[in-house]
């Protein structure tokens, strides 16, 4: 047998091994077992998880900015601390998810670098501006509402660190949704101007909120793999429908009108039918052409750049102490 043939046989054996490993891996997932960082996993699984988790973490961090925009203008001391605590939680949640992703062998700095270079994405929703106090309500109610529907699913996902981070996050995020709704509730009970503020905010945030749950299933290229691996538990369209069904009655309680003339209860489906989503807008925003993409990324890059000397100083201080002790 010549060398070439030997090589081929080796390759074939390797492929068979790999296939066997992948089958075992899939069987574990199908049995409902959690995959832990040190377990064998297909390279594609690792890559997709890193992509998904870092995107999620980036969304938490960039997501601090639109709400951060109103911290200094919160209209009462109580509202101020509520909002501060909420935005701070987002930092914490970003941190938990980054840590989870780090167990897959990528550093947080690397992920942040991917965000800053534009290689990694984050949720489209945070590229819209916050133009009034009511937007703090709309974000808490709609954006966090949509996120919660999504995150409760991920809490059951097959990757241990992601699932654990998400369980913690879901527990903490409980109040976010409520504080948002309560802001709008106060406005809707308030003066006509306040109510108008609330309606305007819903008008601007409704469509972006239902878009943020991702493209329809037919345009969602990674969905099938992710669902097989149970790192995505439900399709975008299913989650979107659940979110809409949950949210419409809440809008009615507020006395606000959802800006969708086609929105109608469908008795047969026991669900709401809704109008066509402007996917062109969605893809534009995802690809950097939203109203605030440039500002959001710049704010993150600035924070990174302006903090560099601080991080360096702490490293150097530590090095000096270690030397002193030696």
């Amino acid at each position: 047998m010549c060398n070439f043939e030997l090589l081929l046989i080796n390759e074939k054996a390797k492929m068979e091994d790999l296939q066997k490993l992948e089958e075992e891996f899939q069987a574990r997932i199908d049995r409902g077992e959690k995959i832990e960082p040190k377990d064998w996993m297909p390279e594609r699984f690792r890559k997709q998880l890193i992509r998904m988790m870092s995107q999620h973490a980036h969304s938490e961090i960039v997501g601090m900015l639109p709400e951060g925009n109103w911290i200094t203008r919160a209209p009462s001391l109580q509202r101020k601390v509520n909002l501060l605590a909420k935005v701070q939680d987002e930092a914490g949640h970003g941190l938990y998810i980054y840590c989870g992703a780090e167990t897959l062998g990528i550093s947080r700095d690397e992920m942040i670098e991917q965000l800053h270079s534009g290689k990694a994405k984050y949720s489209s929703i945070f590229n819209y501006p916050t133009l009034s106090w009511a937007d703090m309500g709309a974000i808490g109610w709609l954006v966090d509402g949509a996120a919660i529907v999504n995150q409760t699913m991920i809490a059951k996902c097959a990757f241990g660190p992601y699932s654990r981070a998400m369980i913690r996050i879901c527990k903490e995020e409980n109040f976010h949704n409520k504080q948002g709704y309560q802001i709008l509730w106060a406005l809707c009970k308030g003066t006509p101007e306040q109510k108008e503020m609330a309606q305007d905010s819903l008008d601007r945030w409704w469509w972006p909120s239902i878009m943020m749950l991702g493209p329809t299933d037919k345009d969602s290229p990674n969905s099938k793999d992710l669902m097989n691996w149970k790192i995505k538990m439900q399709s975008n369209d299913t989650i979107r429908q659940r979110f809409i069904d949950r949210t419409v009655p809440q809008a009615e309680v507020l006395g606000l009108k959802i800006p969708d003339p086609d929105l109608k209860w469908n008795e047969e489906r026991r669900s709401y039918d809704f109008g066509e989503i402007d996917w062109e807008e969605f893809f534009n925003v995802i690809n950097g052409k939203g109203p605030m993409n440039k500002e959001r990324l710049q704010a993150r890059r600035d924070a990174e750049k302006n903090g560099r000397w601080v991080r360096e100083a702490a490293n150097t201080y530590y090095k000096k102490r270690k030397e002193q002790a030696a």
Partner: protein, 101 residues
Amino acid sequence: MTDTSKPENKEWPLWEVFLQPKSGAHHAHVGSVHAPDAEIALQNARDVYTRRQEGTCIWVVPAEAITSSQPDDENSFFDPADDKIYRHPNFYTLPSEVKGL
């Protein structure tokens, strides 16, 4: 001797955080933080993981100092305990009239 004059832009190392939820309880792993040294790691852990009064005591451990068993070890590490059911109290049947055992 290392050169301390040159600033170093390397990422702060990772620390694993263990929280004791109340006195008397075990410390349990809750997550990690990045920090340049132990004191800052402790403060960061406090600020990140006890925002809702979750604990009474925190340990921080450099992640690189942790030695973990590997998935391959699983069989030899944990299966041998499988057939030692006599370590569990319900293995032992006792006369039903006996008290305090």
